[in-house]
Amino acid sequence: MMPLLRAALLAAGGSLAGSIVTKATVTAALGLAGAWLARRNRAAVRHALLAAVFAVLLALPAAGVFAPPVRVAIAGAQGPAASFAADGAGVAILTPAGAGAGEAPASRPAGLSWSSLLLAAWIAGMALCLVPAAAGLWQVRGLRRSGLPWREGQRIADGLAADAGIAGGVEVLLHEAAPGPITSGFLHPAILLPIDAQGWDTEDLHRALVHELEHVRRRDWAVQCAARAVCALYWFHPLVWIAWRQLTLEAERSCDDAVLDRSEATAYADQLVGLARRLAAGAKPPLLAMANRADLGTRVHAVLDAGQRRGPAGRLTVALACAGAAVLLAMSPVQVVAAPQAAGAEIAVPTDVRLRTDSMLVVETVTVAGANGQKVEGLTAGDFVVTEDGVPQKISLFEFQKPESAEGGYYILGYYARMGRADGAFRSIRITCAKEPAAKLEYRSGYYARALSFPEPAEPRQTVTATPLMKPPVLLYKKEPAYTEKARKAKYQGRALLSIEIDSSGRVTNARMVRSLGLGLDENAIEAVRQWRFRPAMKDGQPVAVTVRVEVNFRLM
């Protein structure tokens, strides 16, 4: 169970989108569970709860983007503190898991990646959901404009609105197209009644107006429109749609409760069923999802249920719902990541070139000139033979650059040399072109195999012992290092190990390479790491400067 849960958490928490979806799921599930638990409570209470859920859902993406992520590392045994695991030498190694895992856009190889496909699908789905909503708003506008004023109804509604404590006027309109009473509008709310409302029984008209005025008082229309927008944002999420349906049902039930304050339950239930019958007669049967038909039954039964608690939600409930939403939001920057020892968090590399991290790419640029001095073009990797100290090398990187300028027209060749042989000795390279034996090749004829500046694992210069009194620094903000063009072309991946000094304010004051990768990645890693922010290490309650090691993972997606 635990490894499964852990894997799920990591898969979900690894990316921004994944973590937002996870949080949205948790939020919606909590809201629906809360509504279920409060099923004997007032409808307005459940509505407040679900409205809070939608507020959180709306704020989640914003919080995820703007708030610096707080990463919580999880691991099987070590627990959350594992993000700062002291190794044998007493040097803390902070490993931001997934560092450089293709998150920097620059590091993506050309072509469509999964994440950009997902993004496109998400935007398309959102547009598909927003278009009907916008069309609906437009239709509402048209109906309101073409609605007929009704002096008699307006007079009654004004009286009822004053009773309900609604400030500002509510327009009452008649419309041939209105199949039943309808409310819309936020700043200038209007109630649309069917044209035959003029002939309705006074009691029926009062009940309908009280119901709709309660919508106005509760500002249901605005809540519903906002919730609809949230649904578009999470169009792929069934729980969000379920919550939305529940939200609209609870809004109706809250308004039913307001009617029951001043009307007999069975008469109102009769009116509801009568309206439904009228609609059912006019509509072609399966217009909407079957599930919707449950709502009317739910409402009628709730209206008839003498034991049901009714009334508006108390201030306490609303305050609690808001507080719950605030807590959920406060937790939202939390991102679950794997602890350093969690090798399982590694993402499968879809490229066929899998390299040892201790390989070093040697890149040579070669110009090939023919016997009469002209540039030779169109050669392929197979035409070249590269030897290093007489040993033929497998060409892993090959590129032919077309001559754009006068000096142009050259080939880029690269091969991987084992870093284990990096002893600082001079290596001699020979490049021959088998196809054009007469051609003159120009290239650098050798290089110094780069020696590590100090042995690995290096002895710590400044030892930090993770004693119980010493609290480790916590990574607050991480900037992903960018890939370099060269390294990307070479499909070069690996882990750079850096030693960084974190001062007592949490800033990175010094960063140097311990294990380098080359190809410009080291520089990028240092530049990125310098922008990281930490909560400083604490010793005896005081922030202290420490030196820690961080591993920066360069990985292509």
Binding site: P132, A133, G136, L137, Q139, V140, S146, G147, L148, P149, R151, L174, E176, A177, A178, P179, G180, P181, I182, T183, S184, P194, I195, D196, A208, H211, E212, H215, D220, W221, Q224, T248, E252, C255, A265, T266, A269, D270, L272, V273, L275, A276, R277, L279, A280, G282, A283, P285, P286, L287, L288, A289, M290, N292, R293, D295, L296, G297, V300, L304
Partner: protein, 131 residues
């Protein structure tokens, strides 16, 4: 035949028809004008009545010096036609999501509604017994 909904009527024209129905489908221009909200001038009402007649929604009879107008269709027929035309807009479209309706959606069958109705009647009887 009446073209009540096939031709688009302006809001005022629809209001005039509505007033006419409310007056028993037989009214003079002056009576109709009196029922309009924020009434326009007498001549504008007459212009609109003439336009409605041209659209085939109205006919008139002469009653002495006055014209007595009546609609060419009954209110029920007009409403039904308008309702059916718009129901698709309401319930097939997205409109219902953008407004709160007293009773939304219309996929119920008669059996379901009858069951609800009998449930209401049962509760009503029980409550009568109790009181």
């Amino acid at each position: 035949m009446p073209k009540l909904t096939s031709e688009r009527l302006t809001r005022r024209e629809r209001e005039i028809l509505n007033a006419l129905f409310a007056l028993g489908n037989r009214a003079s221009a002056e009576e109709i004008r009196a029922r309009l909200a924020d009434p326009p001038g007498d001549s504008s009402v007459r212009v609109m009545l003439a336009r409605l007649e041209k659209k085939g929604c109205l006919k008139h009879q002469q009653d002495g010096l006055r014209y007595i107008y009546s609609a060419t269709t009954t209110r029920a027929a007009a409403s039904r036609k308008a309702l059916q035309q718009y129901l698709q807009t309401f319930f097939g479209g997205s409109l219902k999501q953008m407004m709160t309706a007293l009773v939304a959606d219309a996929p119920w069958t008669d059996e379901e509604l009858d069951a609800l109705k009998s449930e209401i009647d049962r509760v009503r009887k029980e409550r009568k017994k109790q009181s």
